[in-house]
């Protein structure tokens, strides 16, 4: 037997999925164990082994690899629980990370917060000024050394940092991606002083133009790198001690994994992986179900994550935002919109119903959790409406207090609006559906797509209860609720199914026409790095896929668009074709005629992505076929439609459903991890993998 294991370490739970080459899949869940998350990982592996009925050593001995996704680096950054690091940069430009291009004041804030200018701040700097030191040196945009590096000054600055207890230094000099000679020399000088100091160079972590994002990327990578190194070394040792045969892989935010030994040097690339897991899972499932265009919606208690899969490929991004800083990291694009099931309903000073943007967060959570929350949330409304079972969540393991939910809605919404508690709850539910539709639409349209051409996947604890409604507002015809054996660990399933993915990039900004020799040289260098990187993974690949791409922009316009470039060697025709593709894609994204081609086109950043396809692809097991009517497990009054009030509604227990069963709305399907609503006028069909497809009647 050969196994592949995916482990997703979240803030609360550590999920694991194990596939074998005979097509069976099992999942397990254990509490996460901060600050040392590796204990939770070992715990969940024990649980998997228990389910297999084998000793964990036997299981690991037959494991091809363990793919590991972790939220710990991201959490450390977001919670600012990171060690103090030093920063060395070009004299005269230290304040880039304090000026933050001004946009540090508002990046990552919600529309509501954007308007409230006087409540904004810029107090989230990465480090104090005394740890940001300058060195005399200067390279110009063409890579010429204008001012030589003052090595004595570098030594003095490093000693200053050392004296202040600094053990990790980020080095980011102007134009270092064009000529890294000074950065590399700085690293040598640091090593001469103390070889144990962790050093990250911007020319390696993020060789991309625009110093603010490059600086912050290099600094954040330095903040999490040493911690990640220690954690992974420790975990890999423990796994090897328990007999793990294959390598430990770490998930990156680009949707692919990398060997644990390679991860710390590019620590920042692992940071968003936990957010992108759902998109990877959707893309895997979409391949199986034959869906090419998918809107992936992962709705938890406090977050609502949206990703897009277009023509079979997850949409990518080259930049993300963490703690109001732009971060250069190739990533699957995930938008956080709204605040999931915890969005708070309230009545504003004008007497109007409002939903969000504030959220109850995990603590205290919705009022019905009985943890002291008094603000009514969408979850409270769903409980009052009978959508959620009064017996609680997770098959009754998470108790819910209906009275607390009713009281919160009565005080905060119903009485101020002169509505009954039930009508107020229905209004909250409906308003949340509509607003979610608006926000989803914004994500899809701004990416240049028409939502009507997509299938919507809805998962996470809170999404399936209202996905059919927000899909209607969005104009989507079909909704898929991924269920089946891995429903509770969808993200871990995505991990287990992922390949190795590496990317290297380099800015070499120039106006077109760019000499094809120059472009080819850039690509060849990057491809070499990627192929060497794949070799270092210590894995045998079925095949290696290499994609070359370049970010281009119109000279006078801000937006950069990534376009693929054919395999080398490049000639003028290939470069022209890339420019043509840029123009076409720009028009798709921003509208016909929106590109100012007369100003010329610029090639900014070259990128090579490599994928090592693993010879092992987990298959989901088919569900037993059922015939006849699906068994109704009970009935209760549920309030789904404004104006109709409570309607006696059939309740289905998911465990009793079989492939081919058809559920006619209105109906509620109870799954241990979530609750699915099939509204009136919709039909839900269970597919052969156990997923529920919801479509309009007659569609």
């Amino acid at each position: 037997m050969t196994y592949v294991i995916g482990v997703d370490v979240g803030g609360t739970f550590t999920d694991a999925v194990l596939d074998d080459d005979s097509g069976s899949v099992i999942a397990a869940k254990a509490p996460s164990t901060p600050p040392d998350y590796s204990r939770g990982v070992l715990d969940v592996l024990e649980l998997l082994a228990e389910q297999l009925g084998r000793p964990v050593e036997d299981m690991l001995a037959e494991t091809h690899h363990v793919a590991h996704g972790t939220t710990s680096s991201l959490n450390a950054l977001v919670m600012r629980r990171v060690p103090e690091v030093g920063f060395l940069t070009t004299k005269g430009h230290r304040d880039s990370i304090f000026i933050m291009n001004v946009e540090g004041r508002y990046l990552g804030r919600s529309p509501h917060e954007l308007q409230h200018v006087l409540a904004q701040d810029k107090d989230h700097h990465l480090l104090p000024k005394r740890h940001a030191l300058e060195v005399t040196e200067r390279v110009d945009r063409d890579g010429n050394v204008i001012v030589a590096l003052d090595e004595d000054e570098v030594r003095a600055q490093v000693r200053t940092l050392q004296d202040d207890g600094i053990r990790a230094i980020a080095v980011s000099l102007l134009w270092a991606f064009r000529n890294p000679v000074h950065e590399r020399r700085v690293r040598e000088l640091v090593a001469e002083i103390d070889p144990d100091i962790y050093v990250a160079l911007s020319s390696e972590v993020s060789p991309r133009i625009r110093e603010f994002a490059r600086n912050s990327t290099t600094i954040m990578s330095t903040q999490v790198g040493p911690g990640l190194r220690d954690y992974l070394t420790n975990l890999e040792t423990s796994l090897k001690e328990r007999g793990l045969a294959g390598p430990l892989l770490v998930m990156q935010s680009n949707g692919g994994a990398v060997a644990a030994s390679e991860a710390p040097a590019q620590a920042i690339s692992t940071v968003g992986s936990v957010l992108t897991g759902g998109v990877v899972g959707s893309s895997q499932l979409g391949r199986r179900l034959g869906h090419k265009n998918i809107i992936s919606t992962d709705v938890g208690g406090t977050t609502f994550l949206v990703g897009l899969i277009v023509d079979g490929e997850p949409e990518r991004d080259t930049t993300t935002v963490i703690n109001h800083h732009p971060i250069n990291v190739p990533t699957l694009r995930v938008h956080a919109i709204g605040s999931g099931g915890g969005a708070i309903a309230w009545v504003d000073a004008g007497g109007n119903l409002r939903i969000g943007p504030h959220s109850a967060q995990a603590d205290p959570g919705p009022a019905c959790y009985g943890q002291g929350g008094t603000e009514p949330t969408n979850t409270d409304a769903n409980l009052v409406l009978g959508i959620l079972p009064a017996t609680g969540l997770l098959g009754g393991r998470k108790a819910l207090d209906v009275e607390k939910a009713r009281e919160a809605i009565r005080v905060k919404v119903a009485e101020p609006l002169h509505l009954s508690i039930e009508d107020a709850a229905a209004a909250i539910h409906a308003a949340q559906n509509a607003q979610t539709g608006d926000l989803l639409r914004k994500s899809v349209v701004e990416a240049g797509h028409d939502p009507r051409e997509f299938v919507l996947y809805a998962f996470g604890g809170s999404g399936p209860a209202f996905c059919a409604k927000y899909a209607t507002h969005l104009g989507v015809a079909e909704v898929v609720v991924p269920l089946g054996p891995v429903a509770s660990a969808f993200s871990a399933y995505g991990l287990a199914a992922s390949d190795i993915a590496l990317a290297q990039e380099l800015s070499d900004p120039a106006q077109l026409p760019v000499d094809p020799v120059r472009a080819e040289k850039n690509f060849a260098q990057l491809e070499d790095q990627v192929r060497q990187g794949l070799d270092r993974q210590g894995l045998k690949f079925d095949r290696v896929e290499i994609v070359r791409e370049v970010d281009m922009r119109y000279a006078m316009q801000l937006a950069e668009v990534t376009v693929p470039v054919g395999d080398g060697p490049l000639d003028e025709n290939a470069m022209n074709a890339a420019a043509q593709r840029f123009e076409t894609k720009y028009a798709e994204l921003f509208g016909q005629g929106s590109g100012f081609s007369a100003a010329g086109i610029q090639a900014i950043t070259y990128r090579v992505r490599g994928r090592g396809v693993l010879p092992f692809s987990p298959e989901l097991p088919p569900l037993e076929t059922g015939d006849g009517e699906p068994p109704v497990s009970g009935r209760r009054p549920v309030y789904l439609e404004i104006g109709q009030g409570f309607v006696d509604t059939p309740i289905y227990d998911y465990a009793a459903l079989r492939a081919g069963h058809v559920i006619t709305g209105p109906a509620v399907v109870e799954v241990p991890t979530t609750t699915v609503v099939v509204p009136e006028g919709r039909t839900g069909t269970v597919d052969e993998l156990g997923n529920l497809h919801i479509v309009k009647n007659g569609a």
């Binding site: 000026i99 000024k129 005399t136 110009d140 509509a434 937006a559 509208g591 100012f596 100003a599």
Partner: protein, 772 residues
């Protein structure tokens, strides 16, 4: 008073009474509206759903505009905006970009309804274009607005609009800015509303007339299409909402959104004390060669739930530092939106019902045709906004729970430098023309509970940004020697003003001088005023080091950290001028931080320590302005600090001794008036007292507060204020401070012209019902 050109008054748009406007419309233009009953009948769910949908429509329109525009002023600096309005042009939902434009959009639509409804008519499928700042839509001719009527069932339902700053629309000066202009005929031609789209088709003849005037016609053509595209997105989405919910429902929501914003703002006003507050500020120089100080003065009266801004007494229009009525109104909005309506939805049509404007014609913020208005938004409209902000902050400071909305004045302008030359770095030399965007990183004013944001941006463009130095160097043949926050540039105060920053560039990759057009203000006299005794932020300054040794220095492995290191001759630049920076020379810009709040001698010494550590304040200024002495480890030397603070108080006492003695009063039931003053009611009469020493400073029965006035050289304000007004203007400028005669805490601190009239001692400033 300037005589307007006869016939030009037709183009001066003013706010209108909606009912009167509706009554004026011809029968050929039926409009869709709803009754109050329909508005009242909306259920809360529908209201919230449609309201959010309209927000989404507006947002989508703005995104479309931003993506399609080719102007870096749009894409990088976010100098644009957009709106959805009702059938009469009242703004229902506006964007968060240039908030000054909000005050101009509806004026253009009113004017269009008044002057275009019959001939050439307003019909489905039309779009109009204007860049006439007297008509509205924008604040100067560079602001071009494209807007369209949206029809449903043959009735005019509403309007969408998109405005963006255009890089060049002709005129004498590069970028349509001529610092020497004496009237509008030297500038870009103002174009009253013309129909640029008919029946859904962009009219080539009109578009050609439009782009022909520009030095960059292709870019203007692109931006025109971007705005047409954004409006099309807006209409399509709006019609989809109407189709789903019905025109009456959507309109009822639109009307209620405005009514809701209005009633919430009125509610907020009602809870505030009535009174009148004053503020006066200056434009130093009005054009190249001018040496005057040009004043804007405002009296803001709050009565019940209404505000009146009276600008009577403002100086006559002059040079290029003029704005039209639209600019004055935009200036009011730049302050009112974030300060009074940060927590109220920006349904501007409703918010604008809560105030009136009073202003004489022919003044620098209500200029008559043919005044030059190129500097309108960045000069007088901005100053108008900052003065309104100062009045609002004085008012709000008296409300105990609204101090989060109080703010000393922010950076007073966008320090402008247009650069143009020849880039010789590529195979083919290429001409370039751009504006240095870096001065967008201005400092914010301090607040009672927070320091001003350091390099927070420009208050009127909430979503502004500055480019990376690398992008600037990639695009233009310059080397940035530094771009850094400047310590001490934020005004000292109990809460410190946010610091500004500076930039130094030298040509790199060109053998020709780079041409410069400079426009700025706040160099001779402070514009970033402090509040409640807080000090003003820095004055701006630009230098060019002629014949410097910078190239030799770089070659020798040294990078300069200041102008004094590069050799050559330092040449001070005026507020307005045209010059150049040649290879081997260095050009530096140093723009404004924000004003401080409260007396710096009352600042927590630990905050000063943090400021010194974070290089926001130098150790010298910590001691001189804050009276905080640091020990060798950088921590507070408590004893030396006490001594130093006492010395500074004694120095204030010595320079302006108080007459006689005064009583103190029990402060137990005192009401806050600002950071220093409190009111105590004694025998039915309000007494004003010092919060720090309990001295009685005045009474509701007496018109004047008992404060000690001191006047001295501007150097008394600190190192951030350059002692060189005489380099720019003829009028003398001095430091003026009012202190409590009991404890000599600063009540008001300013750098102003010697003839500046203030009302710091006016009792009714702090007690509304005092004898004035």
């Amino acid at each position: 008073m300037v005589m307007a050109v006869p016939g030009s008054e037709r183009f001066s748009s003013r706010p209108v009474d909606p009912a009167e406007l509706a009554a004026q419309l011809p029968e050929s233009l039926p409009v869709h509206t709803v009754t109050q009953e329909q508005i009242d009948a909306l259920d809360p769910l529908t209201y919230e759903v449609v309201r959010h949908r309209l927000w989404s429509v507006t947002d989508e329109m703005g995104e479309a505009l931003k993506r399609m525009s080719g102007s870096p002023i749009v894409t990088d600096a976010n100098d644009f905006d957009f709106a959805v309005s009702d059938e009469l042009g009242q703004e229902v939902q506006v964007g968060l970009y240039n908030t000054m434009l909000v005050g101009a959009v509806d004026l253009a639509i009113y004017w269009t309804l008044q002057h275009r409804a019959t001939n050439p008519g307003i019909a489905e499928g039309d779009m109009f274009l204007t860049n006439d700042p007297w008509v509205g839509g924008g604040l100067h001719q560079n602001d071009a607005m494209v807007y369209q009527p949206v029809f449903t069932d043959g009735k005019l339902f509403g309007w969408t609009s998109a405005i963006a700053h255009q890089p060049d629309l002709g005129g004498v000066g590069l970028g349509s800015f001529s610092p020497a202009a004496q009237d509008v005929f030297s500038e870009s031609l103002p174009t009253p509303p013309i129909k640029v789209v008919r029946d859904g088709v962009l009219q080539d003849d009109v578009a050609d007339v439009w782009v022909r005037r520009s030095r960059v016609p292709m870019m203007i053509g692109l931006d025109l299409r971007a705005k047409v595209g954004a409006n099309t997105v807006g209409r399509d989405r709006l019609l989809a909402v109407i189709e789903q919910y019905g025109a009456d429902t959507v309109k009822a929501v639109m009307k209620r959104m405005m009514a809701d914003a209005e009633s919430r703002l009125r509610g907020k006003l009602t809870d505030l004390p009535d009174g009148t507050w004053h503020a006066t500020g200056y434009q130093d120089q009005s054009h190249t060669g001018d040496r005057g100080l040009h004043k804007i003065t405002v009296a803001m009266t709050k009565s019940a739930n209404h505000l009146t801004f009276d600008f009577t007494g403002t100086d006559p229009q002059s040079g290029v530092v003029n704005c039209t009525y639209a600019g004055m109104r935009g200036g009011v909005m730049l302050a009112l939106l974030p300060i009074l309506a940060g927590d109220i939805p920006w349904s501007a049509g409703g918010l604008m019902r809560c105030f009136d404007l009073v202003a004489e014609e022919g003044t620098i913020n209500n200029a008559s045709f043919p005044a030059a208005v190129g500097r309108g938004p960045i000069g007088p409209a901005w100053l108008t906004g900052n003065l309104v902000a100062e009045c609002l902050s004085q008012m709000l400071d008296q409300a105990p729970d609204l101090d989060a909305h109080v703010q000393a004045t922010c950076c007073g302008t966008w320090d402008t430098a247009v650069i143009a030359g020849l880039d010789q770095r590529g195979a083919v030399p290429t001409p370039f023309l751009s504006i240095m965007m870096d001065p967008m990183a201005g400092g914010y004013g301090a607040q009672p509970q927070a320091d001003g944001m350091d390099t927070g941006g420009l208050f009127c463009i909430p979503l502004g940004r500055v480019p990376d130095v690398e992008m600037t160097e990639f695009l233009y043949p310059v080397l940035a020697l530094w771009r850094r926050e400047e310590p001490d540039s934020g005004g000292p105060g109990r809460r410190r003003g946010g610091v500004g920053a500076s930039l130094a560039i030298t040509p790199h990759g060109t053998s020709f001088p780079i041409g410069l057009v400079l426009a700025s203000n706040g160099k001779a006299v402070s514009q970033n005023n402090g509040l409640a005794g807080g000090y003003p932020g820095n004055t701006g300054v630009e230098w060019i080091a002629r014949d410097s040794e910078v190239d030799a220095m770089l070659g020798a492995g040294r990078l300069p950290a200041g102008l004094d290191e590069v050799g050559g001759t330092a040449e001070l630049q005026p507020c307005y001028g045209e010059t150049y920076v040649a290879p081997g020379e260095v050009f530096t810009m140093f723009w404004q931080g924000g004003g401080g709040y409260g007396d710096p001698l009352t600042r927590d010494p630990e905050d000063v320590v943090r400021d010194v550590r974070e290089e926001k304040v130098t150790a010298a200024t910590a001691e001189a302005a804050y009276g905080v002495v640091l020990d060798g480890s950088g921590a507070v030397d408590a004893q030396a600090t006490d001594t130093r603070r006492q010395e500074l108080k004694d120095a204030r006492r010595a320079r302006g001794p108080a007459d006689g003695t005064r009583e103190t009063i029990e402060l137990t039931d005192a009401r806050r008036l600002d950071d220093n003053l409190v009111a105590v009611t004694l025998d039915g009469v309000d007494q004003v007292a010092c919060r720090h020493c309990a001295s009685v400073l005045g009474s509701g029965a007496v018109g004047e507060l008992d404060l000690v006035r001191y006047e001295g050289p501007v150097t008394d304000a600190g190192p951030q204020v350059v002692d060189g007004a005489g380099d720019y203007v003829d009028g003398a400028v001095h430091f003026r401070q009012y202190c409590c005669p009991g404890c000599f805490t600063a009540i008001s601190t300013a750098v102003v012209p010697v003839d500046h009239v203030d009302d710091v001692t006016r009792t009714s400033r702090v007690l509304a019902d005092a004898r004035s």
